[in-house]
Structures are given as C-alpha cells and as structure tokens.
C-alpha cells in the first residue's frame, strides 16, 4: 500500500513537471542553444582555433597520395597539405595541425559534433551532404570522377563485362551510391562487397574475391601505382568515368566567418600559381604589379576576410602553391592538361580575384 502511494505521488509530480516544462519550452531551449555553442559567443570557430593555437583536421590515413601515415609516422598527402595551408593562413604556422584519422562513414558525424575543425579527406560535394549533413563545402581542390579498376589479365574493358560480378567498394561513400545508380540504370547486376577501409578491401581484391574495385579515379590511380610498385599484377583502370566527384575541404554549417577564412586560404594556393609565385620566389618578389603586392599584403591591403594581410606569404612559403603541392605526390594523375590544371591552361582551377 505504502509503495503504491509513493508511486502515485511520483507520477503526479512528474506530470506537473512535464506540464511546467512544456510551458517554458521555448525559453529553455534558447538558453541551452547558447550553451551548446560553447565557444560560439562572439568569436566563433575562427577565434576558437586561434585561442587553441591548433587546427584539428580530419584526414584519411590509408590512401596513398591523399592522406596516409608514412614510415616516419607523419601524415602525408594532398589533402593533408591543405590542412597545413589552412593552419599557415590562420595561425601563421603550417605545423600547428592536429590530425584526426577518420573512416568514410564517421567523417560527417565528427564534423557535426565539433570534434574536428576542418574535414580534408577526399570528400565529394553533394546536395545531401550540403543540406542534411550540415556540411559547408568550400573550394574544390581536386576534380575527380568514379572509375573501375580490374586486373589487366582479365581483359575486361567495359562495365558490361562485369555483369553479376563481385565489386569491392568502401561503405558510406558516394562511390557506393553511384555504383548502384549507374549499374541499375544500365540493367547490370552486381554484388557490392563493402568494407570500411582499404586495409580490408585490398586483400579481398588481390585474392580475386572481388573481380573489380570501384572508387574515385584518383584513388584507383594511387592504388594502381602502389600495387604495381609492390610487385603485384598489372592493373587496368577502365576508360569510362561514370560520375563527377568534386573533392575539397569541408567545415560545419553555421559559421560563415570561419568558412570564408578557410576558403580564401585554399584559393590562395591557386592564386599564387596563377601569379607565378612559388615557395622559392614569393619572398623575393620585387615587381610592381599592384594585384600581386595586394596579395602579398604589402601596403596594408586587407579585405577583412578574417586573415592576416600577409597570410598568402605564410601559405606559399611554408606549404607551396597548388602546382607545388600537387607535384609532391607521384600517385596523382599528371597535372598538365588535366581538369585540375589552371583555367588559363584549359583546366578548371579558377579562383575569384583577390582585390
């Protein structure tokens, strides 16, 4: 009897509380929102990064050419270099980066929760990710497309040759969605063998369990390079590119100031390339081109993008211009004449003027 009374009392109390709180709902959630932002008041992410004096960057740790841990235990790759570019621009030191290795399927959760400041992990810009995932895609650093790799000895040359075959693919990637869409549209059956990272995918492909490996052409190129240079079978990447994959760094939605600063830091590498400035000559520039002088931060030109006037000098001296960064990685496809060449050479690398 006593127990029943107690229960009744508690449940009555809870009802009252529920009633009260649902009245005051609006007020309360706004206070929690302010608290949830944490560092959000005033400075936002940009101030928070400067405060911490380190940029937390989500990267790949298993993709040669884009992001990989080398023999010395250092992160290394095209995407990693852009983390360094951002750190050089915001903090003035390209080495003030803390790398967080992420798998494809947790990267957006990491970005949403604020675990990382920037995601630079061969990530394709899509509408869903821009919207539902709360991601803010910035300057595209690499224009890519999906391809298909098979051992050269099989003689397969078209997707139709793979009817019914096992195809190795990473989970949680646009590659996976694309594979399904393209094969369904053409009425080709297939069986996707999904893995969370390349460490498991590679043995399945090498053993012949998967007859083909699909991924971004750049990644396949880097794996072809790796497999062949380690004494494996000759590989063939099919001519057909069956998707658009614009890859670039990403920040979380809702902080335009930070996004703007990061974006201009990235674009500075292309701007420097266009101006013919690289890490060897940028500091000794003695010309009189006013655009270049503005770019170098001389004469106090500051467009209020949240970066120091001389950020571009830091970026180019410490990391390099786009061409220098790109050519550091032999795994990537040749730059000259590719879609990633400068617009004036017929490529897609085109940035808004810095003035």
């Amino acid at each position: 009897m006593k127990r029943i009374k107690l229960l009744a009392l508690i449940s009555a109390l809870m009802l009252v509380m529920a009633a009260c709180t649902s009245d005051g709902d609006a007020g309360e959630s706004t206070t929690t929102a302010a608290e949830g932002n944490g560092s959000g008041d005033g400075g936002g992410k940009l101030a928070a990064v400067r405060e911490a004096d380190v940029l937390v960057c989500g990267v790949n740790d298993g993709l040669p050419g884009f992001g990989v841990v080398d023999d010395a235990g250092e992160y290394n790759g095209f995407d990693v270099e852009f983390c360094r570019v951002i750190a050089a621009a915001i903090l003035g030191d390209a080495n003030k980066v803390e790398y967080k290795p992420l798998t494809a399927d947790v990267r957006f959760t990491s970005l949403q929760s604020g675990d990382i400041d920037v995601l630079s992990r061969n990530t394709t810009w899509t509408a869903t990710r821009d919207g539902q995932e709360g991601a803010n895609f910035l300057f595209t650093t690499y224009y890519d497309g999906q391809g298909m790799m098979v051992p050269a000895s099989t003689g397969f040359t078209t997707l139709e040759d793979l009817d019914g075959a096992n195809i190795c693919v990473l989970t949680g990637t646009t590659t996976e969605l694309n594979l399904t869409a393209v094969f369904n549209a053409r009425g080709i059956t297939f069986n996707p063998v999904q893995f969370q990272d390349n460490a498991q995918l590679r043995p399945a492909y090498e053993s012949g369990q998967c007859e083909a490996w699909t991924s971004d052409a750049s990644q396949l190129g880097s794996w072809k390079f790796t497999l062949e240079s380690e004494g494996g079978e000759d590989q063939l990447i099919m001519d057909e590119i069956f998707s658009k994959e614009p890859l670039g760094p990403v920040v979380a939605d809702g902080d335009t100031e930070f996004a703007q600063a990061v974006n201009w830091a990235l674009m500075a590498t292309v701007q420097a390339w266009e101006f013919g400035l690289d890490s060897s000559n940028i500091e000794s520039y003695s010309g009189t081109d006013p655009n270049i002088l503005n770019f170098l931060g001389d004469a106090g030109f500051t467009p209020s993008i949240g970066l120091d006037p001389d950020f571009a000098v830091n970026v180019v001296t410490q990391v390099g211009n786009y061409e220098e960064i790109y050519s550091r990685f032999p795994e990537l496809a040749p730059l000259e004449g590719s879609v990633n060449d400068l617009w004036s050479n017929g490529g897609l690398m085109y940035v808004p003027p810095y003035r």
Binding site: Q132, T189, Q209
Partner: protein, 402 residues
C-alpha cells in the same frame, strides 16, 4: 487517549522522520534525473537545429539508394526500414547459428576438460585457452581473410563442384566467396502441409503427457522421446503425400558466367566467418561454464548414485546434470547475449547485419542520431527477448520447494 498522545509526542519532526526522508529522497532523485535528461536532450536538439539537421524519423520511409552485399534481390529503391529489416534478419541468423555452434562445441569441450583421458582433457584446455584469450574481432578477421579470402579455397569462377555419389546434381559448391548447398523450394500447398504438421506437433505433446502419466502410475518405462518423435514422423510423411509433395529439393548450380550461384541455398563468406568465429569464441566461455557447473555438484551426489547402482550414463542423466544445469543456465544466458551483441563485428567481413547496414546508411546521408536510436532499439529487443525466454527456462529448472 493517553496512548495516542504519547504516540504523537514520540514521533520526530518531519525533517528527521525516516519515512518522510525516504520519500523525499526518491522524489528528489527522480527530479534530478528528469532534468538532466531534459538538459541533454535540449542541448542535442539545439545543436542539431543550429547545424540545420532534422530530428524527425521520416528518413525511414525514404529510399535506401545502395545495394546490400550478397542480396541481389534487394531493390535499392526500397525504403530504409526494409534495409533495417534485412539487417535484423541477418543479425538473427548469425546469432542463431552462432549460439548453436557455441552450445554444441561448448558442451563437448566442457565435458572433455573433465575427461580422465590425458590427451582429450589437454586438447580441450588448449582450445579454451586459445579462443578465450583472443579478441572476437581478431578471430573473425582470421576466419574471413586467412581462411576464406586467402585460404585454400578457389575463387568463385573456379569453384569446386562436388557431386553426390555419381548424381548429376551438384551437391556442394565451394569457393572463397559463397558456398552453395541444397535447399528446398516450394512446389505445392505449403500452407496445408504446415497446418498438418502443427496438428502433429500438438498430438506429439499429448502423447508425451500420456506416456509420462502412465509411467507415474505404473512405473513402466515411458520411452516418451521415441513415442513423440514417432508421432511427428508419421504426421510428416502423411502430410507430405496428402498435400502432393509441397516442396522439392533445389540443387545449387553456378550461373553461366560463373559469377553467381543459382538454385539451392547460398551461404556467403561473411556469414560463415562471423558465425564460426563467434561460435567457437563463445564456445570457449560456455565450456568453462559447463565444466564449473559439473564440478559444482557435490561429490556425495555421485557417490549416492553409485550406491544406488545407477550406471554411469544414468548418474549423469538423472543426478549430476539436472543439478549442474541450475548452475549453468544463468551465466550461459549472458554468453548468448554477448554473442548476439558481438554479431555487430560482422561489418569487418562485409556481412549485412543490422549494425553494418545502419553505419553504411548513416555514411550515405541518413541522420546519425535517429539511426542509432533505431539500432539501439533493435538490440534491446533482441537481448530482452532472449533473456526473457531463457529466464523462463531457468525458472523451470530451479529447485521447486514444496
């Protein structure tokens, strides 16, 4: 009159009254927990809305957009909840077969450890120490990659096709990706067949009861297992012919391009690696439970059984095992639950269980928070159902005090 007065006087003030303190304490605890949860939930929704992420569960009816491994019949346009249903089915299958392997192997190894044969008991000890001391994920990857992918088996297009004593039909297709075994396929009135079979099962229960009653009354041997099984068998044969052979054997065959298996029943390498690895891993724990529970039965019980001139088998069947079961069942339930939860490691070998499908679907743009709420719900239901069923078994095994 005087007594009630003294009662009122002897009662302490309410802030020191232990009855009041207890009630107030409980209420305070409820309030604190309630507001903590509210705070966390408010924080979450505020953060999600700041990022512009929806908190609704509508995504469950949106299209999946990707193909599930080894489920060619799955249409990628089907809604996400169907994807989750496929995952639940696969988790259930892996759990079921894993538990079967764990129980059978565990029982054998556990009893073998108590064997007086030196070799058998040492082998059993070696087995237990080996599997118990390696993390399940490592065992799964070992089976997936060392046994299948890089193991002794050929690739799919060069499968071994085993014939059954000169028959034309292939009995077993073996390779490093998916195995084909004979299956059944419906060819008649399966519903009627199952209905007759159900009647047979009920009859068998009645036969069992009758034989037990007869035994209790007269003491003649009941042979109730034989009688009941016989009843079921008779019904099975009768039903098969009455309904005009409701199913046929379906033999596995490689497709023309030798890339898929048609007919029969297909078992993929992810399933095999996961169930075998988890079954053998959990078996090492079950074996220890079995051994401990047998040792827990007092030695005097065996001596008493010997004194009654029971045979070795009878001693185990009627004296030792019924008592050791009481000790063994609760910890075994735990091991079964662990096995179910460990099936979530199947993602390492591309097995389409519910965790790996949910993670994939989150990676492809479904909201993480809601997806994982659904996932946790699935595991909760699984685990609670299993513990409920086994707790009923446990209660029936416990000593009945009269």
């Amino acid at each position: 009159m005087t007594t009630t007065q003294t009662n009122e006087v002897s009662r302490p003030p309410f802030w020191r009254d232990v009855r009041v303190i207890r009630v107030v304490g409980q209420i305070a605890a409820v309030i604190v927990v309630f507001f903590l949860l509210r705070y966390f939930y408010g924080n979450l929704t505020a953060n999600l809305s700041r990022l512009g992420i929806s908190t609704s569960f509508d995504f469950l009816s949106g299209p999946t957009n990707f193909q599930i491994p080894y489920h060619e019949e799955f249409n990628p346009r089907s809604p996400v909840w169907q994807l989750i249903a496929v995952g639940v089915k696969n988790t259930f299958l892996a759990g079921l077969f894993g538990i079967l392997i764990a129980t059978v192997v565990g029982l054998i190894v556990g009893i073998s450890r108590l064997s007086e044969n030196w070799l058998i008991s040492k082998l059993a000890t070696f087995y237990v120490e080996l599997f118990r001391n390696i993390p399940p994920l490592v065992i799964i990857i070992f089976f997936g990659f060392a046994v299948f992918t890089f193991g002794p088996f050929p690739i799919l297009s060069q499968s071994w096709e085993l014939n059954f004593l000169g028959r034309d039909d292939v009995f077993l297709i073996v390779n490093n990706d998916r195995w084909g075994v004979p299956g059944l396929e419906q060819s008649g009135q399966l519903g009627a067949f199952l209905a007759i079979l159900a009647v047979g099962l009920i009859t068998a229960v009645f036969v069992w009861r009758r034989r037990t009653k007869g035994f209790d009354a007269t003491g003649r041997p009941h042979h109730r297992v034989l009688w009941s099984l016989g009843t079921i068998l008779i019904f099975l044969i009768a039903a098969y012919f009455i309904t005009g052979q409701p199913f046929d054997m379906s033999w596995p065959a490689l497709s023309e391009n030798r890339r898929t298996i048609e007919g029969g029943f297909m078992i993929n390498w992810g399933f095999m690696s996961l169930t075998v690895a988890l079954g053998l891993y959990t078996a090492s724990h079950v074996a220890e439970i079995i051994r401990g529970s047998i040792l827990a039965v007092d030695g005097g019980q065996s001596e008493a059984a010997n004194a009654l001139a029971l045979s070795g088998f009878q001693r185990y069947r009627f004296v030792v095992l019924p008592q050791s079961m009481r000790v063994a069942v609760p910890p075994t339930i735990n091991q079964y639950l662990n096995l179910i939860k460990n099936t979530s490691l199947g993602t390492a070998v591309s097995y389409a269980e519910v965790t790996s499908l949910t993670v994939t679907s989150v990676g492809n743009g479904r909201p993480a928070f809601q997806s994982f709420i659904v996932l946790m719900g699935v595991y909760l239901v699984f685990s609670l159902t299993i513990s409920l069923m086994l707790n009923i078994v446990n209660r029936r095994l416990q000593l009945v005090t009269r």
